[in-house]
């Protein structure tokens, strides 16, 4: 776990007294940390479930909204393919698979992080961040994972359903290794979305109304579901090496659909996720140093 400006280590030590004796050393200390954070996270889940269940119809309506927008993306692609056979080397069902994959990644991101990222600017504006800073846990952890969006898991499963259907249309039977690789790369993609959006959300420490900026990120999801071969020049460079939107879903789907000619894009995606994480952690620390709370 990362430590930030407030130096939580001393507080952790005071909580820490029973299990970590001097002799057992780092390992038990590490497992203690992990189990402690897991139990905190379990409590956050319980809260989220309770919250969602108190607005049941709203919960179902949001699922419907997401389904509609998902359908909208698909209808756009089917209109495009009324007028062409290929976009680059991408055939219709491969692009459908790409849309499924990108929707899956987006929904998993949404399930864990989206609400928390968009809420950050409100926490700063109202000064409610104070309460989270006082808790004896890593602040980035609690800010990033406070709420879980359960409906997004339902939508993620509809994306999986679509991908399976597209794979059958393509007569594609991916190996277990391919599926596992795909899932691992999806995790990387989710991490990239999270790091970039969290970085954007950190801007709210500088300008109070950052919500517009955060929602602006939503537009980038639109690029992630487009076949990479359509793009050239500066646009492609920016969205590969600066904001790697053209990698996050294209690479995993290429792996699954036997469309990878070399392993280079996979390594690039992994490298970019590390870069994104470092930059966002740096941005977060720089932002926290600026925080002066509200009104007081």
């Amino acid at each position: 776990m990362k430590r930030e400006t407030r130096n939580p280590s001393s507080e952790v030590e005071s909580v820490d007294t029973q299990p970590a004796t001097r002799n057992t050393g780092h390992v038990s200390r590490f497992t203690f940390h992990v189990s402690r954070y897991l139990s905190i996270y379990a409590a956050l889940w319980k809260n989220s479930v309770a919250r969602e269940m108190s607005f049941k119809s709203n919960f179902l309506l949001w699922i419907l909204v997401e389904l509609l927008w998902f359908g909208l993306q698909l209808s756009f692609i089917s209109v495009l393919y009324l007028h062409t056979e290929h976009i680059g080397t991408w055939t219709k069902w491969q692009v459908v698979m790409l849309i499924g994959g990108s929707h899956f990644i987006q929904q998993i991101f949404q399930a864990f992080f989206l609400v928390n990222c968009t809420n950050l600017s409100e926490l700063v504006r109202t000064g409610k961040l104070d309460f989270l800073l006082l808790l004896p846990v890593n602040t980035r952890f609690i800010v990033s994972l406070r709420q879980v969006d359960l409906g997004a898991f339902v939508n993620a499963s509809s994306a999986v359903g679509l991908m399976v259907y597209a794979a059958r249309q393509l007569h594609l039977v991916p190996s277990l290794l391919q599926v596992l690789g795909f899932l691992a790369l999806c995790v990387t993609g989710v991490a990239i979305h999270y790091c970039l959006m969290f970085l954007l959300a950190s801007i709210s420490f500088w300008t109070v109304r950052a919500q517009g900026i955060v929602w602006g990120y939503y537009n980038l999801f639109n690029i992630a579901r487009m076949p990479d071969e359509a793009f050239r020049g500066l646009f492609k460079a920016v969205f590969t090496f600066a904001l790697p939107m053209l990698l996050v879903s294209n690479v995993p789907v290429r792996l699954l659909a036997d469309k990878l000619s070399s392993p280079a894009p996979v390594f690039l995606l992994l490298a970019m996720s590390v870069v994104c994480f470092c930059v966002s952690e740096w941005g977060w620390r720089a932002s926290m140093r600026r925080y002066t709370s509200a009104s007081s």
């Binding site: 509609l68 909208l72 680059g88 517009g212 900026i213 050239r232």
Partner: protein, 279 residues
């Protein structure tokens, strides 16, 4: 001067003030507007790249429906301009919040009509948005200037302006009516997003409607959605002329009147239901 004229002038002045305050208020969020304008261009550019790839794959000089690549690009440029002029920004959310938080109580007491008040704020929002978005939009259009066609004649241009104004009104009245749902339900955003999804697809945001199979296109024209974006653009591009143009403008006008009537009706019903929570 007769009394009615004085009353009219003071009413005009009242709403003029609202417009002014709205602009000043909106200017505080200019960075938000700028971010929205710039970020909004990114998916547009992406769509243009995809079309370019499709055209180059189909061979040189190919067309999609009746569109050459240049016409396709200018279609998207025009939708961006019309959208900047007419799209409802956060008005529906704000109206719903006003109802939910009981802020509308004060309008029931003041000699000011809430619908006109919101319309002024909507217009001020558009003015501010244009002022902020003009720069990135102009740079973008200049970059693609060879695709930016002029309308075929002055009549088309005039009709385009009229139709764009009607589009703005239609957008606003429909959003206003949707926001009225806040009288009955706690969370209106889902309903707003559902309507928005249909608008997005059926108004021609994603692709020109006349590349759809003919029957589908005809069916869409039975709904108000094409008149929320596609129709003014098609006038500008010279696709609607003569009798088609006149008939289209009439239908658009009827939709505006219908949406206005519905907005008034929903408000009246809502007020009866209203209990001024926290007011």
């Amino acid at each position: 001067m007769s009394d009615t004229l004085i009353a009219k002038r003071s009413a005009m002045k009242k709403y003029w003030h609202v417009l002014n305050i709205g602009i000043q208020n909106n200017l505080t969020y200019r960075l938000n507007f700028l971010a929205r304008a710039v970020f909004g261009l990114i998916p547009l550019v992406a769509i243009l790249y995809v079309w370019q790839k499709i055209y180059s794959g189909n061979g040189p000089g190919s067309t999609v429906g009746t569109y050459s690549l240049a016409q396709m690009i200018s279609y998207y440029l025009l939708t961006t301009v019309v959208d900047a002029l007419t799209a409802v920004n956060e008005d529906d959310w704000q109206i719903a919040a006003d109802i939910k938080d009981g802020n509308i109580s004060q309008f029931l007491l003041k000699p000011i009509d809430y619908l006109w008040y919101r319309l002024c704020l909507f217009l001020s929002g558009r003015v501010t948005y244009l002022a902020v978005a003009a720069t990135p939009l102009a740079i973008f259009i200049l970059y693609l200037h060879q695709y930016f066609v002029l309308p075929p004649n002055w009549t088309a241009f005039g009709a385009f302006l009229i139709s764009t104004a009607l589009t703005a009104l239609l957008q606003f009245f429909m959003s206003y009516t949707m926001a009225m749902l806040a009288f009955w339900v706690l969370e209106v955003s889902t309903f707003i997003f559902i309507l928005f999804a249909f608008e997005y697809l059926a108004s021609g945001h994603l692709f020109p409607l006349d590349i759809l199979p003919h029957g589908l296109e005809q069916a869409l024209f039975l709904t108000p959605f094409p008149y929320q974006l596609y129709f003014p653009v098609s006038i500008y591009m010279g696709k609607a002329a003569g009798m088609d143009l006149i008939r289209g403008l009439l239908i658009q006008g009827l939709w505006v009147i219908a949406a206005y009537g519905l907005a008034r009706f929903a408000w009246r019903r809502g007020i009866k239901h209203y209990s001024a929570v926290g007011g």
